[in-house]
């Protein structure tokens, strides 16, 4: 099969088959989990079909037209890296969904559970095979959303809701930053297509020299860090443990959290080899690795321990991808990629073991456990293999990749020279020490020693084979890769590394590679790890007292205070902005009018008072205008409504005199009649309300209002004086047309009426619609009264 068809099917089949899942559920009832694992297996097969050609031939890309107006194609980029991720995602998917058949009670909403798992798997596959960043981002956010849904699977529990919210805000919010980073990348390169960028070294050179390089890198890194729970963004992952354990194993250890690492690996050729990359990616990775390692060591919840451990392990990978210098931009790439694969195997296995333990003992508190090796022998063996691999004990796969980690840490330290030659390897060892310590704690706390508490159920027994085989298979993988790394290296690590480095990479891994500095570091790690583990109580006491003293030094505290505080702050902000009475709203409208009206005067400049004003007026007209103003003032100052209404209607009648003076008989007639109706309506209303209202005008209110009024007066006056300077040729008014054509074309002598009913008939139509609406509206208003009573 053509690799593209295989990949497209692998990506979209889960979506389609998830869509018909409710229908299938009706047929197979409780066995729906096997349907889902079948789908995952199908995807695994399809990815495997596509793999050989890519492993042999390198990266291939193909696209279908999608949104040409944005220059976006639906395109898929297949190389070793994406194939490796594809296999991890679908492979772990098969394991998880099979395991879920035992884990999830049939009383649960299985349809929703498997549907979301499949959607997640499809999105994840879509993401790793996407060639253009927008498409990648869409799938990326889909994984965030499905993860959100799955964390909140038990949606009526408040902790689930809390965890889901946190994960969504951090990952999807970080995603928005990442999107912006992609957009900056597009501005630099002119393409959204990552394949195009990767295949053209000149574009990469352009990017590295561009002003927007650093913003783009930082923004993309924020997205990746948020997804992979690095640095300050780690906070969501521990709370995500509210999800069902298979979900945690699948999303929050093996696949989704690696999306950020994937992205870092994907953009590695574009950004690496710069100081910024080393400082940001490497520094972030090392800090996260050490800090999260310490925090993991301190956890008492087994899933919490694994969650922090995941953060720390992701820090390893981040740090290794960050190891870069100008000459050697990809020192840690091979080791990071190998560790990525190994981590997927042992961590998923550990989660599944934790799931079994929690399932059987009905608790997740490690302090209540101990001595379970007797009741759960198989689980103990499987769990120990995985945990020892995580601790870096030979001959398991974790040992191999940790050795490589130490080696590359030494290498980068030496290349950088100075204090880094010591600091970076030291930090690496410190991370390793914590890893060793919490791995031991996992085994010792759960399975060894003796029962510390009698709260556990009486009869603890091994779960069904359905739950044992999947972690068992993973444990087997851990051993096989550890003993015979060459197969994994040849078929996965080398192609993936080549995909990242864009050149043929040779990776050499073997179980024994001589007594060298890395091995010394490993031995140091084991000794220090045991030492720390035995001092657990002292360290715990110190940390508890520290936490008690400094409750505010915590990112969770910051998050909680923002999220919880937002509501109150925002309420008071809204109450301040929106006080209720209409006056401030009117004031802001008028002030905006005044301010905007003044801006052109400042920016463009012009005469406020145009020249050529004439003030000649005959005495009757002057009296008329004065009377209008006087009656308006009267309406404003009269206390009793009846007088104010009479004043305003007097004004209306005077206005009709103005209309007569302006040679507008129709207007004058209308104005007189309308004014009469106005007055009647006014009177109808004011007889039903109190006859007067005494507003106490304070001086400041009066001054402010007068100021606004006079500003409106000035603005309108200046506008009018300027506007009414008359039309100059060639802008003769269209009125000429009406005068010339009223009689010949419209057969009417009253031009105003002709304009109303003929020339501008649709205005009049709109206007009578308004009258109808007024009638209907008043009807509604009056009839609404009975509703409220």
């Amino acid at each position: 099969m053509d690799p593209f068809i295989a990949i497209i099917l692998a990506v979209f089949l889960p979506f389609i088959l998830a869509g018909i899942l409710p229908a299938v559920e009706r047929l197979v009832k409780d066995k729906i989990g096997w349907y889902a694992s079948g789908v995952a297996f199908l995807s695994l097969l399809l990815v495997a079909v596509a793999a050989p050609e890519v492993i042999r031939g390198g990266a291939v890309q193909s696209s279908v037209q999608w949104i040409p107006s944005m220059g976006l194609n639906l395109s898929f980029y297949i190389d070793g890296l994406s194939i490796m991720f594809g296999i991890i995602v679908s492979g772990i998917g098969v394991i998880i969904m099979s395991y879920s058949n035992g884990y999830m009670s049939t009383k649960e909403d299985l349809s929703r559970y498997y549907r979301q798992l499949l959607l997640f798997m499809g999105s994840m596959l879509g993401m790793v095979f996407s060639a253009n960043v927008i498409q990648l981002f869409i799938f990326w956010e889909l994984t965030s959303i499905t993860s959100f849904m799955l964390i909140g699977y038990w949606r009526n529990r408040s902790l689930s809701v809390y965890g889901a919210t946190k994960s969504l805000i951090v990952t999807a919010g970080g995603g928005i930053f990442m999107l912006t980073g992609f957009l900056l990348l597009n501005i630099i390169t002119g393409t959204f297509d990552i394949g195009t960028i990767l295949q053209d070294p000149s574009i990469i050179t352009t990017i590295k020299g561009h002003d927007l390089f650093l913003p783009a890198l930082v923004l993309i890194l924020i997205g990746a860090a948020a997804k992979s729970a690095q640095g300050p963004f780690y906070i969501w992952l521990p709370n995500a443990m509210e999800a069902p354990t298979p979900v945690s194993a699948f999303l929050h250890s093996a696949t989704m959290v690696k999306a950020g690492i994937y992205l870092i690996a994907r953009v590695h050729p574009i950004f690496s080899g710069t100081d910024a990359w080393l400082v940001l990616v490497g520094g972030l990775g090392i800090i996260t690795m050490v800090a999260a390692g310490f925090l993991a060591f301190r956890q008492t919840d087994i899933k919490g321990l694994l969650a922090y451990s995941t953060i720390s392990q992701l820090g390893y990978m981040m740090a290794m991808y960050g190891y870069t210098t100008y000459q050697y931009p990809g020192i840690g790439v091979a080791s990071a990629t190998f560790h990525l694969l190994n981590h997927a195997t042992f961590k998923a296995c550990l989660f599944l073991v934790a799931g079994i333990v929690a399932h059987e003992t009905a608790t997740r508190d490690i302090r209540k456990m101990g001595g379970l090796r007797k009741e759960l022998p198989f689980t103990f063996i499987i769990g120990s293999i995985a945990a020892l691999s995580m601790a870096g004990i030979p001959p398991l796969n974790g040992f191999l990749s940790k050795e490589m980690f130490y080696e590359s840490s030494l290498e980068i330290g030496q290349l950088l020279g100075g204090p880094f030659a010591i600091l970076i390897p030291a930090a690496a060892v410190l991370g390793g020490v914590f890893t060793f310590a919490y791995s031991i704690k996992f085994i010792d706390g759960i399975f060894l020693g003796k029962r510390r508490n009698d709260e556990l159920p009486k009869h603890i027994h091994e779960p069904s084979m359905i739950m044992l085989i999947p972690p068992g298979f993973l444990a087997l993988l851990v051993i096989i890769i550890g003993l015979f790394p060459s197969a994994a290296v040849t078929y996965m690590i080398e192609p993936a590394t080549s995909g990242i480095l864009l050149e043929k990479a040779n990776v050499y891994v073997s179980l024994w590679h001589g007594f060298n500095a890395a091995l010394v570091m490993t031995i140091v790690t084991f000794i220090a790890g045991i030492a720390i583990y035995t001092r657990y109580d002292a360290i715990a006491a110190w940390q508890d007292s520290f936490n008690a003293r400094h409750t505010k030094i915590s990112i969770n505290y910051v998050y909680d205070s923002i999220v919880d505080g937002a509501k109150g702050k925002s309420s008071s902000f809204a109450a301040f902005m929106q006080p209720g009475p209409i006056k401030p709203y009117l004031v802001s409208l008028l002030v905006l009018f005044i301010v905007l009206g003044t801006i052109p005067l400042i920016l463009v400049g012009g005469l406020m008072i145009p020249p050529g004003l004439a003030f000649d007026i005959n005495i009757y007209e002057l009296i008329l205008l004065c009377l209008i103003v006087v009656s308006a003032v009267g309406a404003a100052v009269m206390g009793k409504y009846i007088y104010a209404v009479l004043a305003v209607s007097a004004m209306g009648y005077l206005v009709s005199l103005v209309f007569i003076n302006l040679k507008a008989p129709d207007l004058a007639m209308t104005q007189i009649l309308v004014e009469t109706l106005f007055t009647i309506i006014f009177l109808l209303v004011i007889v039903k309300v109190p006859q007067t209202f005494k507003e106490h005008l304070t001086r400041s209110v009066l001054v402010k209002d007068l100021l606004i009024s006079s500003a409106v007066f000035v603005t309108v006056l200046v506008l009018l004086l300027n506007a009414f300077q008359g039309i100059t040729s060639p802008f003769e008014s269209i009125s000429y047309y009406f005068i010339e054509n009223s009689v010949p074309l419209a057969k009417g002598h009253n031009m105003v009426n002709v304009i109303l009913v003929d020339f501008r008939g649709i205005d009049t139509l709109g206007e009578i619609v308004v009258i109808c609406l007024a009638g209907l509206g008043v009807y509604n208003l009056i009839k609404s009264r009975s509703d409220s009573k």
Partner: protein, 513 residues
């Protein structure tokens, strides 16, 4: 004859008016009216789509009402106008389908249908008219019809009548003041250039500008129009009415108001400012960008603290309108494309969200979010639709809002508006936060409240409500998955806005008898 394509613009206005008056005459037969109204609105949607296709293939369609050329009133269906008509027809059809089951029997029997029909006539009139005074007339039609409709009640409408009246009072008073400003500007414009046809005004203003004689008060007029349209669009600091008025309306009207009616302001700016006042753009753009950023910030910040679901979404509308205005303000072809895509998406997604909210409130029996919770089990359909709407507004794929936000950001960054985009970005996360928290509060968490007298599961959407919501959700997802037609259309519209010459030529090359 009547059925020729050329007459469609006027039919889009006249048909709802005729039907509105018929529904007044036969208003007590509401069962018959439901069917008839849905039929008529579907017909209008079909007509508007036909009009859009016609304009797309044959260029701008100009209709002379009364055959008086530019001396009478011209209806101009360019892509922007026709596109807006399609949008408004779509949303009003869905709102109508929804309303037939949602509104109170009393409202359906009395004035709901005529008011709604006339409102649609007003919307179509605004989008199609080529005359600036006619625009004012249709604005008034829109305002009065919305006032009348807000008073009516529906089944999930927990607003007190006192609140409704207070909201309408504020709306009407502010509106009358802004309309007075509009009349002042129209009169000043007429006094300056002696014509009312927008294309004609544009030509004459352009002529003045070319001759270097552009009077400075033209800029003042442009600014005043910003106040008028900004008021319609609820731009800061003119947004105060929105949070009071929109939540007071029953759900279908709320959807129309937030979906279409506030877009009228944006349409006004796109039409009037880009056509007539292109000379003033250098002043307007910074103002629009600053005000739009404040609008985004104020809307989003105020939304977070709300407990009243409808009020929260109303503030969200304020914030979202800010994004559209940001695109309009940035003013490049790409930014205008983005603004139009955003507008369309927000119109559809927000109206869907409001319609869903109406049903959710009915289901909950309260509008206080603190009393809701855990409805995912009892109202799964609403849960999904609400989620799709929230995703779209928050800009998450695969909903349509994603591409809208993407385009806005991309346009802003390409035009090097880094700081405005940074601000917009921060508030995009606010949006995500408050929308999802709302969704979580309502649908997840402990099952908090069910009306003790009626079981929650009885108070679930009826078929027609489900149909309306599913169709809208389908459109939202379609835009999210395959936005090409919308983006292509929007970019052509943006091109036409920036180069109005074809519009002017089409309008003015009329034979006058």
């Amino acid at each position: 004859m009547i059925l020729s394509m050329q007459h469609v613009p006027v039919i889009l206005i006249a048909l709802p008016i005729i039907f509105g008056s018929l529904t007044i005459l036969f208003r007590s037969k509401s069962t018959l009216q439901k069917t008839l109204n849905i039929a008529v609105f579907s017909f209008l949607l079909a007509l508007s789509i036909a009009l859009l296709l016609h304009v797309w293939y044959n260029g701008i369609l100009v209709y002379e009402v009364g055959e008086w050329g530019k001396y009478g009133i011209l209806l101009v269906a360019d892509l922007l106008g026709a596109g807006m008509v399609v949008l408004s027809s779509l949303i009003s059809l869905m709102a109508m389908i929804y309303a037939t089951d949602y509104m109170d029997r009393k409202a359906l029997d009395s004035t709901f249908f005529p008011l709604f029909n006339l409102m649609v006539a007003g919307l179509n009139g605004i989008f199609l008219t080529g005359d600036i005074f006619n625009l004012f007339v249709f604005f008034e039609v829109l305002v009065l019809s919305s006032c009348g409709l807000i008073v009516l009640t529906g089944r999930g409408d927990h607003t007190k009548m006192a609140d409704k009246l207070e909201a309408i009072f504020k709306y009407l008073v502010l509106n009358m003041v802004s309309i007075i400003l509009m009349l002042v500007s129209i009169a000043s414009l007429y006094a300056t250039v002696g014509t009312l046809n927008m294309a004609d005004i544009a030509v004459k203003v352009g002529y003045l500008a070319d001759a270097g004689e552009l009077p400075w008060h033209i800029h003042v007029i442009a600014m005043t129009f910003i106040v008028v349209f900004g008021y319609k669009a609820a731009m800061f600091p003119l947004h105060f009415w929105l949070a009071d008025v929109h939540p007071s309306a029953p759900a279908p009207i709320h959807a129309m108001l937030s979906g279409m009616v506030i877009k009228v302001g944006i349409y006004g700016i796109l039409r009037v400012h880009y056509l007539i006042f292109s000379e003033s753009m250098f002043m307007l753009q910074p103002i629009l960008i600053i005000l739009s950023l404040v609008t985004i910030a104020v809307g989003a910040t105020s939304a977070i603290g709300q407990y009243d679901l409808k009020r929260l979404l109303a503030y969200s509308s304020v914030s979202q309108i800010g994004y559209v205005l940001l695109g309009v303000g940035m003013g490049t072809a790409y930014a205008l494309t983005a603004a139009i895509v955003y507008l369309v998406n927000h119109a559809i997604a927000k109206s869907m969200l409001f319609l869903t909210t109406g049903e959710t409130l009915y289901h909950a029996g309260t509008k206080d979010m603190r009393k809701m919770g855990g409805y995912a089990g009892s109202a799964p359909f609403l849960c999904i639709i609400f989620l799709i709407g929230s995703m779209s507004i928050a800009g998450l794929p695969p909903a349509g809002g994603f591409f809208a936000k993407l385009l806005i950001f991309d346009a802003g960054l390409s035009a090097q508006f880094y700081i405005p985009i940074a601000i917009a970005l921060i508030f995009a996360i606010f949006t995500l936060f408050y929308l999802f928290r709302t969704w979580l509060t309502i649908f997840w968490g402990e099952v908090k409240y069910c009306d003790p007298t009626e079981a929650c599961n009885i108070r679930n959407p009826t078929t027609s409500i489900k149909v309306a919501l599913s169709l809208l959700a389908g459109v939202v997802i379609f835009i999210g998955v395959y936005p090409e037609p919308l983006i292509a259309l929007s970019s052509v519209i943006a091109g036409q806005l920036l180069d109005p010459q074809p519009y002017i030529t089409a309008v003015l090359e009329r034979s006058v008898r």
